[in-house]
Symmetry: C2
């Protein structure tokens, strides 16, 4: 039995792609869908009501950053990540493992877990399968992720096998910790002071009353080695009855061919009754290619990071707001885009804001990219519903790639 | 006759303070009022619709920054500053003189004007009374300012007299240039290219059809020397029938006592039939003290600059969002404030955003300060209307100063 009534259903299929939905304590998510990333409990530069207006159904927050600052226990005392950030819809937290493994000076990984030095103040911390579950439980997202061991692209097959197998052992410990907390409730938090007159903090919930059910997602690893990916998928399925399964370790430097082959292998190896979440993938064409290979959920910082760098997604590929032609262009970035940058302003003003390094420019450009990705997902769902997804995605990819600045 | 039907009227007086309004081609402004400052055609970090939602009636843009980038002729070709920025209400531009005189390496001032080196690329530029009028006419704000000569605080009386007298001569040249452009129309702009498919640029307007009337404001100078201020005011009044008069050269390092004495002197020296605009003043208590001395219009970057630095205006003085007590405070910055930061979020989250250097935090804090100043002005107008302004301002100042962090 799955750990929460997540209840993933599909209604339409086109090749490997499918239209579906799943339920969470904070609402239903129609799939396939893209999740904007809120690193510090906020999608960079964008307010949660702007993210909602852009059409986002679900957002991702980074447990690593929130664990360090303001602290997962502080967030829990303030009512959890939903109350803290004012995002009222479904939310997912990653385990923080990706950030920790990306730190330049993380210590050697041990079976127990991984030690690391905070990028903020140099203090030492430990991540274990148990601690990342405790942290994510304090944050209170609807979907939480296991701790897994990550390797850089190009790792040897032996190293990849060892990391994949350790990730399976860590998954067991995550599941046990998750079940224990669900059964016994969370540890009390008693040492936080609130200023006089402020509302009381939620430092005690022995009955676990304030902790809605969470779905724990395992992560398929194994690099670009087919036999390791198959073994990882099989090992995960042996270890529980999951609500959804993530595919990790892609978009880390491998070729597109390898990424696509791995997605096709995972599509075959994973049950079609569960949603598949491809971690850290968020360029428009990668989303379309992923959906064509049975992926239901995506996240990436690319739309905000590129937008703040002036790179904009359009149906005809990426473009750069700094282009001289935009200096006197009173048209929008994308003619039928519903974002504030496209409906209220023009390229000339957006270019001016960007060149002047005005925060509003960075915000509008990032919000355009987020809006655009969410529109691609809506268009894909409409095509799935209409049974035209395969032809739609062929035409979409051909147009996007014909004129992309990178092409 | 004034140069435009500006039509300032007052309806209530309380001591030297008065309630009034003036008309512009883009709408009516109720006074006394504070203008948020949009340096690059944008109030830093805040969208124009957010500025409007905060209750702003009129905004200020800096001709210096816009002249350098994207260029006043580009903005005119794009339809003017209103079309460019999407601010539909009344707008004022300063002449750019304040920025030029603030540059570390501006050349010696000559009778003709002032040469300066762009802070962006080091190119040399000249500001003359004629060029600042041409620039401001291209930008198209409702109220434009004369070029005046500015001195640092503490300048000798001889230097102050010479600068004040030169400012009067420059005023005459500004007025002549303004009248000539109004009569003959603006020079055509013919060398800008727009990308294919973009709307045509407004490069030609020989009939001046796209140039609504503008009111030119002179500026009273003379430092803190009473006889020079009186001579400046008299010289201005001899030279034309103005729509409004600015008071410059204050808030540059002089004592509060000197500022207040100068304002009282100007109140006596200027006709009560014209609105008085105190340039560059925008701390809450300075606004209240200014209104008590007959000032009708203010502008300042203080609310955005301080907000982005975490310093927040409250009825009990300034406070700092980083204060440790805010870490677990689920209350708003100011209980009855209508800004998004106070109505949607709490101090704990705003502190988190600020500490994490998230742009949303800087935006919300700046917007709080802008909203707060506009609320002070609304409260002041309500007190003027009720005939209780003097008592209201006494109580306001006592409360603000009793607990201010600076006190």
């Amino acid at each position: 039995m799955a750990d929460v009534d997540f209840d993933f259903r599909t209604s339409h299929e086109n090749g490997a792609a499918r239209l579906g939905w799943f339920r969470t304590p904070h609402g239903t998510v129609e799939t396939p869908e893209f999740m904007p990333v809120g690193t510090h409990g906020i999608v960079r530069g964008i307010a949660m009501d702007e993210v909602a207006a852009a059409g986002a159904q679900m957002v991702l927050s980074n447990a690593y950053h929130l664990y360090l600052r303001p602290g997962d226990r502080t967030i829990r005392a303030l009512g959890g990540l939903h109350a803290f950030t004012r995002w009222t819809g479904p939310m997912l937290t990653d385990s923080g493992g990706f950030q920790v493994f990306s730190l330049p000076n993380h210590n050697a990984v041990r079976e127990e877990g991984i030690s690391f030095k905070s990028h903020l103040d140099g203090t030492m911390h430990d991540y274990t399968p148990e601690s990342v579950i405790r942290i994510q439980r304090n944050l209170g997202a609807d979907v939480i992720m296991q701790l897994d061991e990550l390797l850089p692209a190009g790792a040897s097959i032996d190293a990849s096998r060892a990391a994949m197998e350790r990730s399976l052992r860590w998954l067991e410990r995550c599941r046990a910790a998750h079940e224990r907390i669900t059964r016994e409730g969370r540890d009390p938090i008693a040492d936080l002071a609130a200023p006089p007159g402020a509302p009381a903090l939620a430092t005690q919930d022995p009955a676990n009353a304030n902790a809605p059910a969470q779905a724990l997602f395992p992560i398929v690893q194994g690099g670009t080695h087919p036999e390791l990916r198959r073994a990882s998928a099989a090992g995960i399925l042996e270890r529980g009855d999951w609500s959804g399964i993530a595919i990790g370790g892609l978009s880390v430097g491998e070729t597109k061919t390898d990424m696509h082959a791995t997605l096709e292998l995972c599509d075959a190896a994973l049950p079609r009754t569960l949603p598949r979440y491809l971690m850290g993938v968020g360029f428009p064409d990668d989303l379309v290619e992923g959906m064509r290979r049975g992926v239901d959920l995506f996240d990436c910082v690319a739309p905000t990071r590129l937008g703040r760098d002036g790179t904009l997604f359009t149906p005809d590929g990426k473009t750069q707001i700094k282009n001289t032609s935009n200096r006197t262009d009173r048209g929008p970035i994308v003619a039928d885009c519903t974002c504030p940058g496209c409906t209220k302003y023009d390229r000339a003003y957006l270019r001016h804001l960007f060149v002047a390094r005005e925060d509003l420019g960075l915000r509008l450009l990032a919000l355009h990219n987020v809006t655009y990705l969410l529109q691609v997902m809506r268009d894909a769902r409409a095509a799935l519903r209409a049974g035209t997804f395969t032809a739609w995605s062929d035409a979409w990819l051909a147009r996007y790639r014909a004129a992309d600045d990178d092409a």
